[in-house]
């Protein structure tokens, strides 16, 4: 029960109870992690992680490394934008990595060129009628596959009341099977030049940041965003208030699927090939980004900004370990600890906030 000894009925506005935006905590964690790597780098390597310490150049930052940090998280980051929305509804999406794999195989089949070095494309999946198609075709096929998978997830979660963990676990296995079945495990290669542009250079980063801004606005300023938070916060209340909860959930899962499909297009375009194992465990990386970014697995809390910072934290850690010439296994151990630590910290803060309220 609240403390009613001050004000009228506990109605005083206590400034100390004011909420501190959670994103600032995540940003502080990012800065702290960078500082740790800078300190370790200076001590063990005699170098800086992010700043340029070489004499020959006069730039402030080590731009090559900054670019690598953000490029390597951009594609999983796009998935994480969708996963964030799903988690805010108190759901989970385990299928995004496999959906990426299946979509990669399918959309790449519509992006192939007719001739490679003067001879017919040896990897062609379809007949000549489906070669050298305009770039919009594989793009739409990719988005469509993702949306279809998302809608199926959403229907099972919203209408058949199957727990999101199980529904998307089933989709994860199914989609991976589709990816392997599509071309009997063979890679699909040789895309058209126009298709290869999508994932070139910094394009994945531009798409990632553009989508992040778009979904930040959508989550904060549209009825879609408000209902997403409301459902995650109290589904019964949302239903009682007249929100069409099942329809909204299908929409959320469809958007998450679409973003996984888009990632497939970008990844295949960047790698110039599609393989059935693509996107393996991306779903867990995406969930990790969201969770580190302060998205609550219990629903209702979290933000796109948080997830973007979470993605940067993972990027910095990955680059940092490479920079310190430590093996990938250390990196995974540390990431595991950070994820659990982030959730534990969040729980502790919630408990403290509840005790004060």
């Amino acid at each position: 029960m609240s403390d009613t000894s001050h004000g009228t009925g506990g109605l005083m506005f206590d400034k100390s109870k004011r909420q501190w935006p959670n994103e600032l905590n995540v940003l502080a964690a990012l800065i702290l992690i960078i500082l740790i790597f800078e300190a370790l780098g200076a001590y063990f390597m005699g170098q800086s992680l992010l700043f340029d310490t070489r004499d020959r150049f006069d730039s402030i930052f080590n731009e090559a490394r900054l670019r690598i940090i953000i490029i390597q998280v951009a594609i999983v980051g796009i998935i994480a934008l969708g996963v964030t929305q799903v988690i805010i509804t108190a759901g989970i999406d385990l299928s995004s990595g496999s959906v990426l794999g299946a979509t990669a195989m399918i959309c790449m089949s519509f992006a192939q060129v007719g001739e490679v070095n003067g001879s017919p494309n040896p990897k062609a999946i379809f007949g000549p009628a489906f070669l050298d198609l305009p770039v919009i075709v594989p793009l739409l096929v990719g988005l469509g596959c993702g949306i279809a998978a998302g809608i199926v997830n959403g229907i099972f979660v919203a209408f058949f009341r199957i727990p999101p963990f199980i529904a998307t676990l089933g989709m994860m296995l199914f989609a991976r099977g589709v990816a392997q079945w599509w071309s009997s495990g063979n890679p699909v290669s040789f895309p058209t030049e126009a298709y290869a542009v999508i994932g070139q250079g910094m394009n994945p980063v531009i798409i990632f940041l553009g989508l992040a801004v778009l979904f930040h606005l959508i989550m904060n300023y549209t009825i879609y965003g408000k209902h997403t938070y409301a459902i995650g916060s109290n589904e019964a209340a949302a239903r009682m208030s007249g929100i069409n909860v099942p329809r909204h959930l299908v929409l959320v899962y469809a958007i998450a699927g679409m973003l996984a499909g888009l990632s497939a297009v970008i990844l295949t375009s960047k790698n110039l090939t599609a393989q059935s194992g693509m996107g393996l465990s991306y779903e867990l990386d995406a969930i990790a980004m969201a969770v580190i970014g302060g998205v609550s697995l219990f629903g209702g809390r979290g933000s796109i900004i948080g997830t973007v910072i979470g993605a940067l934290i993972i990027g910095v850690i990955t680059s940092g370990f490479t920079f310190l010439r430590l093996g990938a296994f250390y990196q995974e151990m540390v990431l595991g600890c950070i994820i659990v630590g982030a959730v534990a910290l969040d729980q502790w803060q919630q408990k403290r906030a509840a005790a004060r309220a």
Binding site: M1, S2, T4, T8, G9, G10, L11, M12, F13, K17, R18, Q19, I218, Y221, T222, I223, Y224, K226, Y229, A230, G232, S233, N234, A236, A237, A238, M240, S241, G242, I243, H248, L251, G300, R301, A353, A354, A357
Partner: protein, 257 residues
């Protein structure tokens, strides 16, 4: 047009073999505040759940605003104009006050955008302040999330929500059961405001003082039946307790004994 806003005839609800509500005949006039009292398990909440469409009645008719109604769910009832404050508050903890007040009926702009239409934060904020003003609720910072509020503030938000939207009937199921003295006083102030505005109310309560302070008429339930229908002027606390415990039964309700 009659003065009766709500009327039930022979309203009955059986849960399997349990007769939770038996043959309840109840009327509520426009602008009238009625309290429903009774011991635990007397059928008070069951009665409310049949009217608000949370459950489907076994038998009987419900007339609301001159028409017979069959609410398929609480949403239907709300659309017809019955606003209910449930014992378990239907609030989203992670949203702030205007968001909760307008949950499910947000004011929006650019409506051609479908599910991505923009929220009219300014309009909702202004109407929220007006609504809180109308009900006399004082919440220092309406941008605070519900999770950061005290029990009384939450209850006030829930009640303000029903009062902000012009409703034809407000039902409150033990609105002050878990509140402190001052918070209770605030909720009671809101109820008085509703009375002044001529909005009819059904108040389910155990609090004798509160009931005598606030309402015009007291209906007593006992073992699933209505056993008394008392005007406040004709009765007192001891009398009501006698009806609740079964020491007395009003004329015309003998079958309830």
């Amino acid at each position: 047009m009659s003065d009766i806003i709500l009327e039930t005839r022979g309203l009955t609800k059986h849960y399997g073999g349990v007769h939770a509500l038996e043959n309840a005949n109840f009327t509520l006039n426009k602008g009238e505040h009625v309290a429903i009292m009774g011991d635990n398990g007397a059928g008070k909440s069951t009665f409310v759940r049949q009217i608000t469409g949370v459950e489907q009645r076994t038998r009987g008719t419900v007339m609301f605003d001159g028409q017979e109604v069959h609410f398929a769910g609480p949403l239907d009832a709300r659309e017809a104009g019955i606003e209910t404050v449930f014992q378990t508050l239907a609030l989203a903890d992670d949203l702030n006050v205007p968001d909760n007040l307008f949950l499910g009926r947000e004011k929006t702009k650019l409506n051609f955008l479908g599910p991505f239409r923009l929220l009219d934060y300014k309009g909702m904020r202004e109407e929220t302040l007006a609504g809180l003003d109308k009900t006399g609720v004082k919440i220092p910072n309406i941008k605070n999330t519900i999770a950061h509020m005290s029990g009384g503030q939450r209850q006030c938000v829930a009640i303000a929500r029903t009062a902000t939207f012009a409703s034809k009937l407000t039902i409150m199921d033990e609105p002050t059961a878990a509140l402190g003295v001052q918070e209770t006083a605030q909720v009671e102030n809101i109820i008085r405001t509703l009375k002044d505005q001529g909005e009819p109310l059904i108040l389910v309560s155990h609090n004798m003082r509160q009931v005598f302070d606030l309402v015009d008429r007291i209906v007593v339930f006992r073992r699933g039946r209505i056993c008394a229908n008392l005007r406040k002027e004709d009765t007192d606390g001891q009398d009501v307790v006698a009806y609740i415990t079964g020491a007395k039964t009003q004329e015309g309700y003998e079958d309830a004994a």
